[in-house]
């Protein structure tokens, strides 16, 4: 097990390096001279020159990458072109609400997704199954921004129960987390169902029945564990969906998170902020999947008992 953990952790290091390099290249891939972009339209040639030197844009590209990485390791993501506030500072105040929102969404999606999936599998081809799967396929097909707008219309405009946006109180988290988690809940429900249905067809389930175990013992004592192990992996992959969705949902609800900052920055062409956001989002995703991998290894005796 220890070897497995070390192997996984070492395994993501090259990925982190490559991803950071690609994100670093981002600013060079944008058409035009980055120094000119940063300096603004009215800048003189001299000003541009100064910025180029200040940002080390006159150095060889590999050198620039090392400088960039050095900055990253010290928590320096550069500074915003528009507001000239350090990017770290801009993102820092947006990070917490975003993380809270994603954990909240993931949490309810997991709980309800697994619940619906288990019910559907246990009552396969009966009405709880049909109900669960109609909910799930709808959940996958719902555009999250539309779900958000419909909820705003209903709960904020018509009924006035919840605020239309912001993260000032817990009430501000309710609708965004529903809009964000709906699709993930649906995916997890479908996957849990199919995994559990598959497990219930295994030979060892028949062995269990032949020993006189009740259906409850068989489903919850035998089948659930082995069918939830792959759900862990799927939940990890869904996290990417969640990060992407947060950009859209945060925009709908004017939620002060990282996602909305990204869209705002793109519209303002504030590239250093965009760059930092892309890096943080992808690192977050990689790390979540690392945790998921480790969890998978821990739950699966075939891995955890080897070595």
């Amino acid at each position: 097990m220890g070897k497995y953990v070390i192997k996984r952790i070492i395994g993501i290091i090259p990925l982190l390096v490559v991803v950071s390099f690609i994100v670093f290249l981002f600013i060079h891939l944008i058409p035009g001279d980055p120094a000119r972009l940063i300096a603004g339209k009215e800048a003189t040639v001299k000003e541009i020159q100064a910025i180029r030197h200040e940002l080390h844009l006159d150095e060889p590209i590999f050198q620039q990458y090392l400088i960039y990485m050095d900055g990253l390791l010290h928590g320096d993501f550069g500074e915003s072109i528009k507001s000239h506030i350090p990017v770290m500072h801009l993102i820092g105040e947006r990070m917490l609400p975003s993380i809270e929102l994603s954990l909240l969404s993931m949490g309810w999606a997991l709980v309800f997704g697994i619940l619906i999936g288990v019910l559907s599998a246990v009552f396969k081809n009966r009405w709880p199954d049909y109900g669960g799967m109609v909910t799930a396929v709808s959940g996958i097909s719902l555009p999250n921004f539309w779900l958000g707008l419909v909820m705003i219309q209903l709960f904020s405009v018509q009924l006035g129960w919840l605020p239309t946006g912001g993260a000032d109180s817990w009430k501000g988290y309710i609708m965004p987390s529903i809009a964000l988690g709906a699709g993930i809940m649906a995916m997890i429900a479908r996957f849990t169902r199919s995994s559990l249905v598959q497990t219930l067809k295994e030979d060892f389930i028949r062995t269990g029945r032949s020993r006189g175990l009740s259906s409850m013992t068989i489903v919850f004592g035998h089948a659930l564990k082995s069918s939830l192990i792959p759900v862990v992996t799927v939940a990890g992959l869904q996290f990417g969906f969640l990060l992407g969705g947060s950009v859209v949902v945060e925009t709908v609800f004017s939620f002060p998170g990282m996602g909305r900052l990204l869209i705002d920055s793109i519209q303002l062409r504030d590239y250093p902020v965009v760059q930092a956001e892309l890096l943080l989002f992808s690192f977050e995703f990689i790390l979540v999947n690392l945790v998921v991998d480790l969890l998978y290894g821990f739950l699966n005796p075939k891995i955890s008992y080897e070595t």
Binding site: I22, P143, G244
Partner: protein
């Protein structure tokens, strides 16, 4: 245990592949209904502009922001344009973006996946490592990053969505190829002296084909959603176009007063994606029964 019956030594009646596929698919009533709905959308995309009741671009300032009525089934927008007509005309745009981006991604991804899965070794390692890098960026964020570089616009949405589809197709096709490659009949074909290219194109690819079709259908839904999201964020279709996502984006300003402007474009996106997902489920059950529940 159903094997007890199927494994017995008997010969089922001879039946054509296509016929048995159709017979099995017909049993999935919802899938068939979705299939017809999707066909309707395709027809609308093809002939929509010539059958709409109103010109989708002509403003009518006498009927601004009207709710749904018999005259205007889905109401009118802030310029008095008929929303129903705009939705129908927008079908071509919204479906077109989804279909072209998924097809692009599917073709490139399938080729990469086949190569990777069949040749293995360093070829496989290289392709899969590159895919891993793409997977490190969550789908929509990758698209947003690409659009940030290329600039907003429908064409760039197609490129961005195609790019995030490539690695996922590559991975799925590779997985299936590896599975097929281990099958005994592939080894049997090698043992009669068949060349690698013959094995890939005549034997492995047809086996992976049904998986690709199912995955294509499902991803088409996702792609339409992604393109709509990007247009909604103002990164895709120009706000004045009749793209569904763009229409939604524009109508946000009229939330309180004209909710139908938000409701109908979203509804049509939802129904389109729903029909694709149901169709995909049906196809999977029929074509790829092993991956079924």
């Amino acid at each position: 245990m159903a094997e007890i019956v199927t494994k017995t030594d008997y010969m089922p009646k001879s039946r054509g592949k296509l016929r048995s596929f159709c017979a099995a698919f017909i049993h999935k009533k919802t899938a068939v209904a979705s299939f017809f709905f999707f066909c309707l959308l395709i027809i609308l995309a093809l002939i929509g502009p010539s059958i709409v009741p109103y010109n989708p671009q002509t403003p009518d300032y006498n009927h601004v922001l009207q709710g749904p009525s018999w005259l205007h089934l889905a109401g009118t927008d802030e310029y008095g344009r008929d929303v129903f007509s705009r939705l129908i005309v927008g079908t071509r745009l919204s479906l077109g973006v989804g279909i072209s981006s998924v097809l692009l991604g599917a073709v490139a991804g399938t080729i990469l996946g086949l190569i990777s899965g069949y040749f293995g070794k360093w070829v496989d390692k290289t392709i899969m490592r590159i895919c891993d890098v793409f997977f490190a960026f969550p789908d929509i964020l990758l698209a947003i990053g690409i659009i940030a570089i290329l600039g907003p616009g429908l064409q760039n949405v197609v490129i961005a969505v195609a790019i995030f589809n490539i690695p996922s197709f590559a991975r799925v096709v590779r997985g299936k190829t590896l599975e097929v490659k281990e099958m005994l009949f592939i080894e049997a074909t090698r043992s009669i002296g068949a060349t690698k290219s013959r094995i890939i194109f005549k034997h492995v690819f047809p086996e992976t084909f049904s998986t690709i079709i199912v995955y294509l259908t499902m991803n088409l839904g996702t792609a339409i959603l992604a393109a709509a999201s990007l247009s909604f964020l103002g990164l895709g279709a120009s706000p004045s176009s009749s793209d569904w996502g763009a229409m939604l984006s524009m109508s946000r300003d009229y939330m309180g007063t004209a909710f139908h402007l938000v409701f109908f474009p979203g509804l049509i996106i939802f129904l389109t994606v729903l029909s694709l997902n149901i169709m995909g489920d049906g196809l999977r059950d029929v074509l790829d029964p092993k991956s079924k529940d």
